[in-house]
Symmetry: C2
Subunit: 358 residues, 2 copies
């Protein structure tokens, strides 16, 4: 019996209106207890929403930032073109400071910047309209990217597979069906029975709050775990594949993703379980030779010592809170991109599948 | 500069009074936000305190259960001896149902049962007095055991070592200085500079709440981590040794301990970091050939889905919550017992160090 899949109740993010419109997002910090959409009308609100993880997931951050640039242009659309140009540069630079690790953020902002240079003939208002069109294209491409990743990746999951995932790389992390979860959704649509094991993903519990929410919305069988239980569940023989997303992938295939991903990859290796990373080509940063060059965001200690406003550590106790870690290419069985599968994972195969152009 | 060590403010558990006395424990579920001692006057209260983890840690559970038997005898001390004998059997059987994994519980209850057979000449009141003496002996031996484990283990930690620990195997887990933490405390007393990395230890955060509390009380430099960050901290090169406690160790050296210990052991292997398990001989269950025979307690799903009374998973989401996992002997560099070091870890060396008697 195929699992009946329900659609998510609202898109993770959507532009409302035309050039003078605004960005509507699901405030993911409130899920699953509260489902609330918030409207962002200023670049500063987009910056704060990205920093505070109201919108998160590398692809979704890119789309949000692109619309954020458009939000910064409303009061210069009627002025001269050079005012628009200066504003684009300023707002893009500003939004780039919201989070350091996900490269899709910088990629999307570069695309918005490039519109200016590519269309020297446009007036101020025409340029602003074209910027909105570019942001919409980024969003549309993101949806298509998710579908293509699902298509390419689904063949890797046999019927009856137990799949473990870490953090949330689903529809809440993209404008479409997600990256890692898109593979799962595509396999389920093919009629495969899967069981998803969801790492809760401390400190901010994106697995418990967001991935669990997506899976229960869609009626896909799933079990939530403390992160520390992943190894034991593998030892019990319940996991036949691991899939995660990524926030930045270096030229050699080393992949930065949510803290804990590296541990899961080591555990997968120990148990001879394939470890897959699903991400669009926009997540690759081919300027970086390997993962050592990827900047790792350190977030506030209080996310560890005061989880959800409850003090759990004694006064004076220090904490480390790296938001990401880097999984070396050698631990990744296959990278799943919208352009196809990259395996084995090495610099030559990354170049080959992504195309020399990039 | 040697670290100045402050003593813990109160013992983890202490008997107050004589045969008609009661057991006073620190309610560890309230730490570190509240330091509160509670008095237990009935076996039912001891059972609840063990089940609810107000008192926890394999050695401390054993001591608490021994005193719990004494609490069950207050109303039969003036009766005939057979009433005492029947009550001992009944209360010991009852307390054995409080938690399934830590073997020290059963070991301590057996010692209390054996007092009855070993002293057929005693009257009812004399037997009750002897039972209290036995419980006190178990407590005293536990203190000496902790000191001996610290003595044997300290040689394994060089000056300047970064030590990672999981859960709490400290003074709060024993009547003395702890097992894993006793090794750290002994090394610090020798003037060695250590830095302790503390896994927070979801779901119940014994690392964040209890180990952090002990270390800050004693002024030992320490850093708290989400469990999922342990692998990355090792990758960064900050950890040169891992030490944990154990709740039950099979004849071949396979060791059950808090969920997540197995993952840490696999990560230690990947990073070529020695992995030590510190536990008294009472934690060994030589009747079990290997770890497959150790029963693993499954605790309520709500500890995962509603951490600290905050709902973090959507309605209908299922969870797994094994309280323990088993680390195979092959992943353990050395077992640290009060009778000496067991290395390499195998059945022959376990027998040799513990002595054939057991």
């Amino acid at each position: 019996m195929a699992v009946k899949e329900r659609k998510s109740v609202a898109p993770t993010l959507a532009w409302v209106g035309e050039v003078d419109g605004h960005l509507r997002i699901i405030d993911q910090t409130l899920l699953p207890a509260q489902f609330r959409e918030i409207d962002l009308a200023e670049p500063e609100q987009v910056w704060e929403a990205i920093r505070a993880l109201r919108v998160r997931g590398a692809p979704a951050i890119g789309v949000a930032a692109a619309y954020g640039v458009v939000l910064g242009l409303s009061d210069v659309a009627t002025k001269d073109r050079s005012a628009v140009e200066r504003r684009v540069a300023k707002v893009a630079d500003y939004l780039a400071t919201s989070r350091p690790t996900a490269v899709n953020l910088f990629w999307a902002l570069d695309r918005m910047r490039n519109v200016v240079a590519a269309h020297p003939q446009l007036s101020a208002s025409e340029l602003v309209a074209r910027m909105l069109e570019e942001a919409r294209q980024i969003e549309q491409e993101d949806c298509e990217m998710c579908a293509a990743i699902g298509r390419h990746g689904a063949e890797l999951l046999a019927d009856g597979t137990g799949v473990l995932t870490h953090c949330n790389a689903g529809s809440l992390a993209t404008a479409g069906d997600g990256t890692a979860l898109s593979v799962i959704y595509a396999a389920v649509r093919q009629g495969k029975q899967l069981h998803v094991f969801v790492d809760e993903t401390r400190p901010l519990l994106q697995g418990a709050r967001l991935t669990s929410w997506e899976l229960t919305q869609r009626g896909i069988p799933a079990t939530l775990l403390c992160d520390s239980a992943a190894g034991w569940i593998m030892y019990e023989g319940r996991v036949q594949a691991v899939i995660t997303g990524a926030d930045r992938i270096a030229a050699n295939g080393d992949a930065a993703n949510k803290i804990g991903t590296y541990s899961v990859a080591v555990l997968a290796k120990e148990h001879k379980i394939p470890f897959y990373v699903a991400a669009p080509s926009s997540t690759f940063d081919l300027d970086l030779p390997d993962g050592n060059a990827i900047p790792i965001e350190e977030r506030p200690e209080s996310e560890v010592t005061e989880p959800f406003d409850r003090v759990t550590a004694p006064e004076g106790m220090r904490a480390r809170n790296p938001a990401f870690d880097v999984t070396p290419a050698a631990l990744i069985t296959c990278l799943i991109t919208e352009k196809g599968l990259i395996r084995p994972v090495n610099a030559a195969n990354v170049r080959k599948v992504l195309g020399a152009a990039k």
